[in-house]
């Protein structure tokens, strides 16, 4: 620890020897991390969304409009006793209309064109989504039910999208990881070449390899963290803009923006730190100084 000030000073000197190249490298690394962050953000948002939909999974059961209240209650009781049904609730015509008004927001004016309430009453059934098929089978055997609307297609499509994003994400993470390692190790090798005389002198004076190499590791760490911060800045702006633009215009709820940004910040900094140290060590190991 006694040399920590020296190491930082050396790292700064190494950076300044090839300043332009190093600044351009920060931008390259920043863009690499931006790609990584974008894919990770998309994966994370969709994953959160599916989990949210799974927790909120429900089926809407429609019955004949002229059904009497006694029969509706009886139908609700029949549904309630089915295993894995969590909650059964009647949504009457007025509430159904009100919900659509909330969903449509400014566009709800279109509903004023109708002379009467066009919406039907229905029974909202909260379920364990994993048991959807079994529950549907049981519901279909109840005669009083006219129509069942489930979200299975939506959930399945999202699940498929997540699988695709996971594959793409793994590929992108691997590609960006390798790219960053190569970029950093190349910069470190260049730094070693530029400082070869100093390194040789230190070796002749008996300096341990760790003493010689530490400033280079610091430089690599600095470059990737700076690149990571740049990427995070762009992600921050992107997410804020995206939430501002689409947050209020889509029907599905998005994860909290603060949580998303915090998670992305930690992820980018961690990844940049690990890749910076890894790339520097790789560069040091692969460089041969005569």
């Amino acid at each position: 620890m006694k040399n920590i000030g020296y190491f930082f000073k050396e790292a700064r000197t190494i950076f300044q020897v090839d300043r332009l190249s190093n600044i351009l490298s920060i931008f390259s690394i920043g863009l690499i991390f931006l790609i990584l962050s974008t894919i990770t953000t998309a994966w994370w948002v969709s994953h959160q969304l599916v989990n949210m939909l799974r927790d909120e999974a429900e089926i809407n059961v429609f019955f004949q409009e002229d059904m009497e209240d006694v029969n509706i209650n009886s139908l609700m009781e029949s549904i309630g006793i089915i295993g894995d049904v969590k909650e059964v609730k009647l949504v009457d015509k007025e509430e159904s209309h009100q919900r659509m008004v909330e969903i449509l927001g400014k566009e709800a004016k279109v509903l004023e064109l109708f002379d009467s309430n066009p919406f039907q009453a229905f029974i909202e059934v909260k379920i364990n989504v994993e048991k959807l098929d079994t529950i549907l089978e049981r519901l279909e055997s109840i005669e009083a039910i006219d129509y069942i609307r489930d979200n299975k297609d939506v959930i399945d499509k999202l699940q498929n999208l997540i699988s695709l994003l996971t594959i793409v994400g793994v590929l992108v993470i691997t590609a960006t990881g390798i790219s960053t390692l190569v970029v950093i190790s190349h910069i470190i090798r260049q730094g070693i070449y530029n400082n070869r005389e100093q390194i040789n002198t230190l070796r002749l004076l008996g300096a341990p390899e760790s003493f010689i190499g530490f400033p280079f590791v610091l430089e690599g760490l600095f470059l990737t963290v700076a690149g990571g911060l740049l990427a995070f800045g762009l992600v921050y702006l992107g997410v804020k803009t995206a939430y501002g633009q689409i947050g209020s215009n889509i029907f599905i709820p998005l994860p909290h923006m603060e949580d998303l940004l915090k998670s992305m910040g930690v992820f980018i900094l961690f990844a940049s730190g690990v890749l910076g140290i890894g790339g520097s060590i790789f560069g040091l190991k692969s460089a041969k100084v005569n």
Partner: protein, 225 residues
């Protein structure tokens, strides 16, 4: 301190730099290795510095065996000696003090002492007024003194100076020789190589070891130690 038996050194291109050299340097000794350019004196010093290994024979420096495959010994030796390289090997863009300190940073020395010892060494070599000067702004002789300060600040058991008189005029060369000799004491041996044999006429201390064609021709032990 240094014990060499039948040492030979053959470089990769087949050049036979040293042949069957026997040498012994004891603690606190002052020795001048002389000979014309290409005679093998720098090769001999490189062996003592752990820059080269003997191709044949046995060499121990400060009790450490110098042999290929003994990297740990080499690294240890390099920390124990005070080398003054022919081309100085100072770090450009750094001050005299920073250069001297750099030679001490990885030694077992508290950080406060590193600066103190470095300053003292620069004062001893007469550069108290150039401590914070960047080495490129120093004269040839001053640069040489910084290299010497870096070597002596480490308080080494063995100071090895390769052609320290280089391109200096006689007066400055003699000054450098006597400066280096002044660091010899009961614990520190000093070995200096030089091709400028005429300088030795003015020096009344130390042993003279003559090297010719890779062979030690003559060891003069007549000089006063």
């Amino acid at each position: 301190m240094i014990e060499g038996k039948d040492i030979s050194l053959v470089y990769g291109d087949g050049t036979k730099a040293l042949r069957g050299v026997n040498i012994a340097i004891s603690k606190g000794q002052l020795a001048y290795i002389i000979g014309p350019s290409g005679s093998g004196k720098t090769s001999l010093l490189k062996l003592f510095m752990g820059i080269e290994y003997p191709t044949e024979g046995e060499l121990k420096v400060l009790g450490l065996k110098m042999q290929k495959g003994q990297e740990a010994n080499i690294r240890k030796l390099r920390r124990l000696i005070g080398p003054v390289f022919q081309e100085f090997k100072l770090i450009k863009g750094r001050t005299a003090l920073e250069n001297v300190m750099l030679g001490l940073r990885f030694l077992d020395m508290p950080s406060k002492m590193i600066k103190e010892e470095s300053k003292n060494a620069l004062i001893k070599v007469g550069l108290s007024h150039k401590i914070d000067t960047v080495v490129e702004h120093l004269s040839f002789g001053e640069t040489q003194r910084v290299a010497i300060a870096r070597a002596v600040a480490r308080k080494p058991a063995l100071i090895l100076a390769d052609e320290p008189t280089g391109n200096l005029d006689v007066d400055n060369a003699l000054n450098i020789m006597s400066l280096l000799a002044s660091f010899r004491n009961e614990n520190t041996a000093v070995i200096i190589t030089t091709h400028a044999t005429h300088l030795l006429d003015n020096i009344d201390q130390g042993e003279i070891i003559k090297v010719e064609n890779g062979i030690i021709k003559m060891e003069s032990r007549g000089a006063v130690q």
